[in-house]
Amino acid sequence: MRVQVKLFAFFREGRFVKEDKELPEGTTAGAVVDDLNIDREEVGVLMINSRHCKFETVLQEGDIYAIFPVIGGG
């Protein structure tokens, strides 16, 4: 299935801003994070089609999946 993955802030560095990915059926949001070598502890918000989701959420054909890091400084 085809899913568009969008990265935000420093997750973009050395990776991409957005990319269409061909993923096996049943792939979870968390598995994409792991494949991108993103530490789950650094993840803030995950969204599928502009709605919040969890690492366990299963992606579907045509989803737009956004991954935001925790930004914590003040």
Binding site: V45, F68, G74
Partner: protein, 272 residues
């Protein structure tokens, strides 16, 4: 406080020396001394009579709006990069009262981004330095300072709170404190070239949505000075818009700011 019998005479002098229009700081000081009252007492009377202090003539705000800002109280929690800069901007625009809370002293690693950190202020309490410097910018401003991590006193009587904190757990504690009293928080956070800003209210639970995991970063994040300046300016603008009833584009979520890729995205918070 201004004595009742002095009020009429003060108004007469204000109208005369301002020619019914603009009041200089020198005249304001002279009137305050003459009637043994505070600069802020004179400022209030002037604004109530459509006389604008010269300090604010370039603000592009109406006299009524300027009075609203003057009568407002803003609490700044965390006076590092974001907190220090928002304090400076809010003092310049004419907020009447700021409550500043931070337990720390200025150290060398603050020099890249904290506006009141310089070679002479290293080692001094941040809130003491900031309060004193703000007086030079806006001598009519009143401040309370709290040299500690925040508590209920830090947000007492505040119309709105600025989040200048640097940990997820502290932010969540601040949210609990403010939601109890129904005080909105202008959240801001920065890291490297990136930042985020939004307004947390009881109804939207923004901060808890942005920090779903309880953990704090083990090390303080690196932050570029431009990121701090931009996000602090946005926080100060949101404060003023809230106080002036102007509404906000980021009421429904947050603005994700990326200075490296020059991208600014409004993200709707679907967890509210």
């Amino acid at each position: 406080m201004v004595a009742e019998q002095d009020l009429k005479e003060i108004i007469r002098i204000l109208l005369e020396c301002s020619q019914g229009n603009v009041l200089s700081l020198a005249d304001q000081k002279e009137i305050a001394e003459k009637f043994d009252c505070l600069l802020c007492d004179i400022e209030k009377i002037a604004l109530e009579h459509s006389i604008v202090p010269a300090r604010f003539t370039r603000n592009s705000l109406s006299c009524h709006e300027q009075l609203r800002l003057f009568q407002s109280r803003v609490a700044i929690i965390g006076c590092g990069g974001l907190g220090g800069r928002t304090a400076e901007l809010l003092a310049r625009i004419g907020i009447g009262h700021l409550t500043l809370t931070d337990p720390d002293i200025f150290s060398e690693s603050n020099l890249n981004r904290q506006i009141f950190c310089n070679a002479e202020t290293l080692g001094y309490n941040k809130v003491e330095v900031i309060s004193s410097e703000l007086q030079k910018i806006n001598p009519v401003l009143t401040t309370d300072i709290h040299i500690n991590t925040f508590d209920a006193a830090s947000v007492a009587e505040a119309d709105i709170v600025i989040d200048g904190l640097d940990s997820a757990t502290a932010r969540k504690d601040l949210v609990k404190l403010c939601q109890k009293q129904n005080i909105p928080i202008v959240h801001g956070a920065v890291k490297e070239w990136y930042g985020q800003i939004g307004v947390d209210r009881s109804a939207n639970n923004l901060v808890c949505s942005l920090y779903p995991q309880a953990t704090n970063s083990a090390t303080a994040p690196n932050v570029m000075p431009m990121t701090v300046a931009l996000l602090a300016a946005m926080q100060a603008a949101e404060v003023c818009k809230f106080l002036l009833g102007k509404g906000s584009l980021i009421d429904e979520g947050w603005l994700q700011c990326d200075l490296l890729f020059s991208e600014y995205d409004h993200i709707k918070n679907t967890l509210c």
